[in-house]
């Protein structure tokens, strides 16, 4: 058994601060929307729901932090989780569509998004897979094809929903893990040849994704149409200036910026807390990623190493991706800001990542 250390305090504190900032900003961004949805009665609608999820997430996180490391690396547990998540991703396709997508299981009062939970599960599976095949990572039949097959199944299921953002995130982090595992540059070239045309095809095959792409390339061409979200996000962030309009004083949440409390919460942060606030949030994520990578380098075994790398990248890349979208650096994708954006499944998945990382921080090589 590994020697027990205390949890990584930096990671823990950074994660808690990010979550608290998230709650404050969710309230600020959603109060008016909530008032409108509840007929002027309850501005706390979204905040309360998020707090309930946070409660569940905290339990899960503390559970994972204290979990016996042996259970985590048990192959049977991982395959069980993988099987469960694949089943859930299949089942969710048969749910009644919400906004034309099949992303959610609808429970009374709550919605649940299995693709979010797929993120840590895929990381766990790939970590197991790569730790076993580390010496043969460049072999086509024993490593790359099985890797590709599992990934294709999961990403494919998620694309069917469709949820391009989550699919891309999983694909991106998986490839990064493979890269870290030592994939040869030759293979990388081959994978790129295979993946990039496929990615382009996927990106351009659906109208809404093509629109988002062309919009991204020139958001001001059609500010009231498809470039609306991107433009409104930039206006929000731009008006913030150095020190922001002040907490709660944002105006873009007055129905100019759609989804101000979910995918575009970083825009509201930029508007209300300014450059300083936005930089603080970026710094908090930097701490998160820094500690995650430190934890990875200190892990005792290859599995833990890949888990820590994968989970850290999952949080870090998604955060950068989300910020880049709000800043119009990347085309609009439905991706929440981890630990911050409103959304139970996303919060839960992010807290699973943090919990597992904290668990791994207790062991040392």
């Amino acid at each position: 058994m590994s020697r027990k250390l205390s949890w990584d305090k930096y990671l823990f504190v950074a994660a808690i601060v990010i979550v608290v900032v998230g709650l404050v900003m969710i309230y600020s961004a959603s109060a008016i929307l909530a008032m409108q949805k509840t007929g002027g009665e309850n501005p706390y609608l979204f905040l309360v729901k998020q707090c309930i999820w946070l409660g569940a997430g905290s339990l899960l996180m503390f559970g994972l932090m204290n979990l016996d490391a042996g259970l985590v690396r048990d192959q049977r547990v991982i395959y069980l989780l993988l099987g469960g998540i694949v089943a859930a991703l299949v089942l969710v396709l048969f749910q009644a569509p919400i906004n034309g997508t099949h992303r959610w299981f609808v429970l009374p009062g709550f919605q649940f998004q299995p693709a979010e939970i797929a993120k840590p599960v895929v990381v766990l599976f790939l970590a197991l897979f790569l730790s076993q095949k580390e010496e043969r990572v460049n072999e086509l039949t024993s490593t790359l094809l099985p890797f590709a097959a599992v990934l294709a199944a999961i990403v494919g299921l998620i694309l069917l929903q469709p949820d391009f953002g989550t699919a891309a995130m999983i694909l991106l982090v998986s490839c990064a893990m493979l890269f870290v595992a030592g994939l040869s540059w030759r293979r990388i070239g081959a994978v790129a040849l295979a993946v990039i045309p496929l990615g382009l095809y996927v990106m351009l095959s659906a109208d809404y994704r093509r629109d988002r792409l062309t919009t991204f390339l020139n958001p001001e061409a059609d500010p009231l149409g498809k470039g609306f979200q991107a433009m409104q996000s930039l206006i929000a962030i731009g008006t913030g200036g150095v020190d922001g309009l002040g907490l709660g004083n944002g105006r873009q949440k007055l129905f100019f910026l759609p989804e101000p409390h979910t995918d575009f919460i970083f825009s509201i942060i930029g508007e209300e807390l300014g450059f300083i606030g936005a930089i603080v949030v970026v710094a908090l994520f930097a701490v998160l990623v820094w500690r995650g990578l430190v934890i990875a380098t200190r892990t005792r075994d290859r599995f833990s190493y890949y888990v820590a790398v994968g989970l850290t990248l999952m949080l870090g890349v998604q955060a950068l991706f989300n910020m880049s979208v709000t800043l119009c650096l990347l085309p609009t994708k439905g991706l929440p800001l981890p630990l911050v954006s409103y959304g139970g499944s996303s919060l839960l998945a992010s807290m699973i990542c943090v919990g597992l990382l904290l668990n791994l921080s207790q062991e040392s090589a």
């Binding site: 990064a176 030592g182 962030i237 731009g238 105006r251 970026v282 950068l320 880049s324």
Partner: protein, 654 residues
């Protein structure tokens, strides 16, 4: 370092680079392009609502209101807040007083904006009815509507405003800067869906109400001028005409009448022709009234003296093949220059004009202000037509001497005559007396431009004598007053039609001033196309007389011909214009006699008295007498009679 570590480092470097790009982009958007985005945000988040100022009033020379802005309600809609346009339109259309059909209202509600007028400046009852319906998205707004309480009185001087209260013509336009005030602005924060979200405290900017403009126009003199002009037009069956009444010393215009006129309260119901201020916009050939200028030029150039004898050639003179005759076929022989003017001899005047010569004559005529605008502070003034000698024909010098080949405005003639009346100074006619704020403080006084001398005092006096002669024993006899000596000149100009002089269409005019030796008034009466009679002496001169008489009496000008003191107030004045009450000791009873019941009660109440009346109509007697003490009861008893009792002038020893 293992490969894996190396790879992890590369990934980390990539993440760091990405983070730097994000931070750099944040700096660009939030710091470098901050202002752009603030402007973009303001464009979509804020709406500036203009708060209309209350327009200032237009007052007459004695502070009586000629135009004022009174509160009115306007109905508007926020089309975005209306869910069922059809039902809303139907309910509104049910209010018949709005005068809109369901389809018309529905059309207005189709707007994409958050603001659409339904009906502006409606009656209070209509607004109340709309409010009672309590329709979502339909609101009433307090606005001000322009009201002209005296109706058509001085309409062409006052002008009118558009529905937004901006002056479009007349004094309303001329003094827009003072009257209009400054609109206030309030910035309203709005959201993307439902219009106004909250009113921003910042950027609030209260409107500055307009200030009032006091004119030199006197309501009563204006009324006299319009009434007499109307009756002159009626008796001569003419369609249009104008009257100028001016103070010859200051250039202050006391009345400026123009007929046909219009009611500025509903100016759109009248033709544009009725909107014209004929006294400053219409051009006509002055005819014989212009002989004053010919005479002035002759005297100033030393070409003629009053007693100089001129051969009037037995009725006609031939100028380069054209024979010019006297009016009415007169055949004058030798006349003194005085008599040439008194009888308005064409031949004699032409001889004077020719003696002056083209260049000097032209110079004299322009010096009297012809061919250029008088500078009156009203919009749309015409400058008239006066060709320079280079373009003159062989006939021009001659016919200009009798007021042809020149087009003038009535105001130009009045102005030039004023220069003779006041001893030789050409003054600038004006209607602005002063600008006063709501508290009655004078904001600005009229600053008259310097007057220029156009004729020597001596020659002005000579002309004065000549012009007195025109009235005492010449063509202007019917302008003579019993109380005052009048100086003036008649004019009968043939109208040009299709390039020739019409045989029967004339413009009859009379210009004069009174009292001749200490003139208070210059009055010009112009009657266009009289169909009964045609001479200025028979049509315009009597109107001059009546206007002068009534105005001098109203102004309490002591008779300048001794032994004359007749009560000749026209009946309409007795009822209408009570001269301003002389200062009475505080607390004493005001003079209410001659007022109608309503005015009398108002005046008495304002002075702090109670009133008991008996009878109907106008106050004939009052108890206590004016100036008396009413005692503790402060009660004034008024006896009313159907006919107003003439207000005896001087009867009280004033």
């Amino acid at each position: 370092m293992t490969l894996s570590r190396k790879r992890l480092l590369m990934v980390s470097a990539f993440l760091v680079a990405w983070a730097i790009v994000v931070v750099a982009r944040l700096a660009q958007v939030q710091i470098l392009r901050h202002d752009d985005y603030v402007a973009k945000a303001a464009r979509q988040q804020e709406r500036t609502i203009e708060l209309a100022p209350v327009r200032g009033s237009i007052l007459d020379a004695r502070g009586r209101i000629l135009a004022e802005s009174v509160p009115a309600s306007s109905i508007y809609a926020d089309p975005q807040a209306i869910t069922d346009r059809r039902a809303t339109a139907k309910k509104l259309a049910a209010i018949k007083a709005l005068g809109l059909t369901r389809a018309q209202i529905e059309q207005k509600l189709k707007s994409d904006s958050e603001f659409a007028w339904i009906s502006r400046q409606v009656d209070d009852e209509v607004a109340a009815e709309v409010r009672k319906l309590d329709l979502a998205g339909i609101y009433a707004l307090e606005e001000h509507v322009r009201a002209y309480p005296k109706g058509s009185l001085a309409a062409s001087v006052l002008g009118f405003v558009n529905v937004d209260g901006e002056g479009l013509s007349g004094a309303e336009l001329a003094f827009e800067e003072s009257l209009g005030g400054r609109a206030g602005k309030v910035t309203v924060l709005r959201d993307a869906r439902r219009g106004v979200y909250l009113v921003g405290g910042e950027g609030k900017n209260a409107p500055v109400d307009g200030v009032s403009v006091e004119l030199t126009i006197d309501e009563v003199i204006q009324y006299i001028a319009e009434t007499e002009l109307r009756s002159a037009l009626a008796s001569s069956r003419a369609e249009s005409g104008s009257v100028v009444v001016m103070d010859p010393t200051s250039g202050a215009i006391l009345a400026l009448a123009s007929l046909p006129d219009f009611d500025p309260n509903r100016f759109r119901d009248f033709s544009k022709n009725a909107w014209r201020n004929r006294a400053i916009q219409d051009l006509y050939e002055p005819g014989s009234t212009f002989k004053i200028i010919t005479g002035a030029a002759g005297l100033e150039e030393g070409r003629v003296t009053p007693s100089q004898v001129i051969d009037c050639e037995q009725g006609s003179i031939e100028i380069s093949g054209t024979r010019i005759r006297e009016h009415g076929g007169h055949q004058y022989g030798y006349l003194t220059f005085e008599d040439v003017m008194a009888h308005s001899s064409n031949v004699g005047s032409i001889k004077v004009g020719l003696a002056v010569g083209p260049e000097a004559f032209y110079r004299r005529v322009t010096s009297f202000g012809f061919g250029s605008k008088s500078g009156v502070d009203l919009p749309g003034e015409a400058s008239g037509i006066l060709r320079s000698p280079k373009k003159w024909s062989a006939l021009s010098n001659a016919v200009l001497s009798i007021g042809q080949e020149i087009a003038v405005t009535p105001l130009q003639i009045a102005r030039a005559t004023a220069a003779i009346a006041n001893g030789g100074m050409l003054v600038t006619p004006h209607v602005l007396s002063r600008v006063v704020d709501r508290e009655g403080n004078v904001v600005k006084d009229y600053a008259p431009p310097a007057a220029t001398r156009v004729i020597s005092e001596k020659n002005a006096a000579v002309l004065n004598e000549i012009l007195k002669g025109v009235v005492s024993n010449g063509t202007g006899k019917r302008a003579a007053l019993e109380d005052h000596q009048v100086a003036g000149k008649t004019g009968t100009a043939q109208k040009a039609e299709h390039g020739r002089y019409s045989p029967d269409k004339t413009i009859a005019s009379f210009v004069g001033y009174v009292p001749a030796d200490r003139p208070r008034l210059v009055i010009l009466v112009v009657v266009d196309e009289p169909t009964i009679g045609q001479y200025g002496g028979e049509i315009a001169a009597p109107a001059f007389k009546r206007i002068a008489e009534a105005t001098l009496r109203y102004l309490r000008v002591e008779p300048s011909i001794p032994g004359r003191n007749l009560d000749v107030d026209p009946p309409y004045l007795r009822a209408r214009s009570k001269p301003p009450a002389p200062a009475l000791p505080a607390g004493s009873v005001p003079d209410l006699r001659g007022l109608d019941a309503r005015d009398a009660i108002a005046a008495a109440t304002a002075a702090g008295f109670r009133v008991r009346t008996s009878g109907e109509g106008f106050v004939s007697t009052q108890s206590p007498e004016p100036g008396g003490a009413a005692g503790d009861a402060k009660l004034v008893r008024l006896t009313l009679a159907p006919e107003p009792r003439p207000v005896a002038d001087g009867g009280e020893g004033r």
